[in-house]
């Protein structure tokens, strides 16, 4: 495999707040190859959307590097970044806020070409028609306005606009979270078709593990600004080796588990700590069912664990060896049963 399309190294994004600096993204590195979908998973406050925005230049990075095809984008001014914009596009979560209500659909899709002074009016019009059909809408819709479309149709329009400049990588920030299940399936299929036909890469930011499981070639789990575990499609799901990944998977309800109780952590009331003031050592330890003394003392590094991928957990070997199992307590809550290794 050749050089990655996008390469992020030690990226840090900080927000200044009244009470000090908040590290929304804390020293993370990520490669995305051509034609690949990498899913960035995490709960609110994990920094997943911030990282996506930093890649397209919507958030300035504090340090680290973001390279697109070997070109450093990190320090570029808006003007200097313009030529690289064409390769890098973004689809947002809210299909209602993603389209300027005062512009026609045709104009919205044409806009990127206008900005980059591409083609004649007639060529642009033809391209808009082609894009609309490409995303499963009809070319006649170009004279209509956003308020005439449903959420799913709007998301298709947003995707058409993102495709206008023939991008290589599209950052999809929760692209289907606001859509109904039946429409969600349509949009996920569209994204998969486009990837197959155009060789697109996606960074798919999502909190929905079932969607991610369906669409991602590679998964990265983020927690409080850090990557805690990564893995390939084939082996990530069956053996979640990081306790946080495991918690996420188990908390996600499934239509296949009719009547099965939902799994909650051992503490039945664990809150996500503030990123302003993350716990010492391992950031997940305050909610982890398996935390030991070492977890409070030193921060675990992201390291390869067997064939499973990477994990940032001190106790991952113990867990992988099966020394900790789950069982039901007297209230029929599922809790970890600790065995001494």
């Amino acid at each position: 495999m050749g050089a990655p399309l996008l390469s992020c190294k030690d990226v840090v994004v900080e927000y200044k707040t009244r009470r000090g600096a908040l590290r929304a993204v804390d020293t993370v590195s990520l490669d995305i190859r051509e034609g690949e979908t990498v899913a960035l998973v995490g709960e609110s406050g994990s920094g997943k959307s911030t990282l996506g925005k930093a890649i397209v230049g919507l958030e300035p990075i504090r340090s680290g590097s973001i390279k697109l095809n070997g070109t450093e984008l990190g320090g570029l001014s808006r003007r200097a970044m313009r030529p690289y914009r064409q390769a890098l596009q973004m689809v947002f979560q809210d299909p209602f806020g993603s389209l300027n209500p005062r512009l026609s659909i045709g104009r919205i899709i044409e806009e990127p070409m206008l900005v980059h002074r591409i083609g004649t009016a007639e060529e642009r019009r033809r391209r808009v028609a082609e894009l609309l059909e490409r995303v499963g809408l009809s070319a006649e819709m170009m004279t209509r306005y956003p308020h005439e479309f449903s959420g799913g149709q709007r998301q298709r329009i947003v995707i058409a606009r993102a495709l206008t400049l023939n991008p290589k990588l599209i950052i999809c920030d929760e692209p289907v979270s606001a859509l109904d299940v039946s429409v969600q399936a349509q949009v996920l299929n569209l994204l998969a078709d486009l990837q197959r036909d155009l060789g697109l890469s996606y960074l798919f930011v999502s909190h929905d593990l079932s969607v991610v499981r369906h669409i991602a070639h590679r998964v990265v789990v983020m927690y409080l600004g850090k990557f805690v575990s990564t893995g390939e499609r084939a082996n990530f799901w069956d053996s979640p080796i990081h306790p946080y990944t495991r918690r996420l998977l188990e908390s996600t309800p499934s239509v296949d588990a009719v009547g099965a109780p939902l799994v909650i952590g051992a503490g039945d009331n664990d809150e996500i700590p503030s990123a302003m003031n993350p716990p010492s050592g391992c950031r997940f330890r305050t909610r982890c069912d398996f935390a030991a003394d070492i977890c409070a003392q030193s921060e675990p590094a992201l390291r390869p664990v067997g064939a499973y991928g990477m994990s940032a957990c001190h106790r991952v070997e113990t867990l992988a060896s099966g020394a900790v199992r789950y069982g039901a307590d007297e209230n029929e809550n599922i809790v970890p049963i600790r065995t001494v290794a």
């Binding site: 799913g152 299940v181 039946s182 399936a185 996420l248 309800p253 296949d256 939902l262 009331n269």
Partner: protein, 328 residues
């Protein structure tokens, strides 16, 4: 024993001086202590149905057109404002999707709960506060004694939803309506809130009407479900029978459209089963079955006649000509 019986309820929405039924001829019963899920996609009328039950419709934009809501042999569809006030919050309460927006930002959570209790019970402020702390403990809000004097913005979304649940259960209602109670929350928090809800339900014996678009939640925590499409119930039954053997094409396709959370992973990214088209708008609903335009197995009759909900087996009912003829 059923505690709520909804009979041919029609709720209408007024758009440009025309009335459209957003809830169309809906009938169901709610058994004591059960969790009944009402599922459907946006625009199916599930929230309008919930608001109709409590008579909190945004009048005059929406109103109950006809039908009965029998609660204790009283018809809530006809009940007066004062009567509803004694029922809402005391015997039937609701929690909403956005807990932050449902709480008053300039009042401590303790005061808000206490106020709610004083509204319905003859109790001193002091005792109400004590009871508020008790309730916060019951919903397992950590440090309830301290948190009782916090303002909502100091709490996370999950904690606010706990407070909402405490408030909703303050007067031990017989029916709790939960309208998308966990949609705004993270999955780990969602699991906790749902677990809390079902624990409290078995403690208090309240019946829960769970309104959600998330079929996976329904599969795991509900007893029975109603599937709504374009204002009508298209299928109803126990969770086991509907998920085990979905009869209506809409239910079937809806379940298929959800990416699977378990099972083997194929190497390549497959396609999901999608339901083509979208829910018909209120002014585009025609005589026949509302789903017929999107249905793969629709026959001529589906476009002209409206199927009614008929029992197919046990508690399982379906409103579809094709499914009904298969069963016959």
């Amino acid at each position: 024993m059923s505690i709520l019986k909804v009979d041919s309820l029609v709720t209408e929405l007024r758009i440009a001086d025309r009335h459209f039924p957003v809830v169309n001829d809906v009938s169901f019963t709610l058994e004591k202590g059960e969790t009944l899920a009402i599922v459907g996609e946006s625009g199916c009328g599930k929230s309008m149905l919930a608001m109709s039950l409590l008579r909190i419709l945004p009048e005059p934009l929406a109103r109950i057109g006809s039908g009965r809501i029998l609660f204790d042999d009283r018809d809530l569809a006809e009940a007066g404002v004062d009567e509803m006030r004694t029922i809402r919050g005391k015997r039937m309460s609701i929690i909403f999707q956005d807990p932050m927006a449902s709480l008053n930002p300039v009042e401590t959570i303790g005061n808000q709960i206490a106020e709610m209790i004083c509204e319905h019970e003859d109790i001193s402020r002091r005792d109400a506060r004590k009871k508020a702390i008790e309730l916060l403990r019951m919903v397992r809000l950590p440090d309830a004694e301290k948190r009782v004097d916090e303002y909502p913005h100091r709490l996370s979304g999950g904690m606010c939803q706990r407070v909402m649940i405490a408030m909703a259960l303050a007067c031990r209602p017989e029916i709790l309506i939960a309208d998308e109670p966990t949609t705004a929350l993270d999955v780990t928090i969602q699991a906790q809130i749902l677990a809390l809800l079902s624990n409290l339900q078995s403690e208090t014996g309240a019946a829960v009407i769970l309104i959600t678009h998330n079929l996976a939640i329904v599969a795991q925590i509900a007893d029975r479900l109603l599937v709504m499409y374009a204002g009508e119930i298209v299928e109803s039954g126990t969770v086991a029978s509907v998920f085990g053997n979905p009869r209506h094409p809409y239910t079937r396709q809806l379940i298929d459209a959800i990416p699977k959370g378990t099972g083997p992973i194929e190497g390549e990214i497959g396609r999901l089963a999608e339901i083509r088209g979208s829910v018909p708008a209120l002014d585009q609903r025609e005589r026949g079955c509302n789903f017929s335009q999107r249905c793969d197995c629709a026959v001529a009759r589906c476009r002209t006649d409206k199927p009614v909900l008929k029992q197919s087996s046990g508690d399982h009912s379906v409103a579809c000509f094709v499914a009904q003829s298969e069963a016959a």
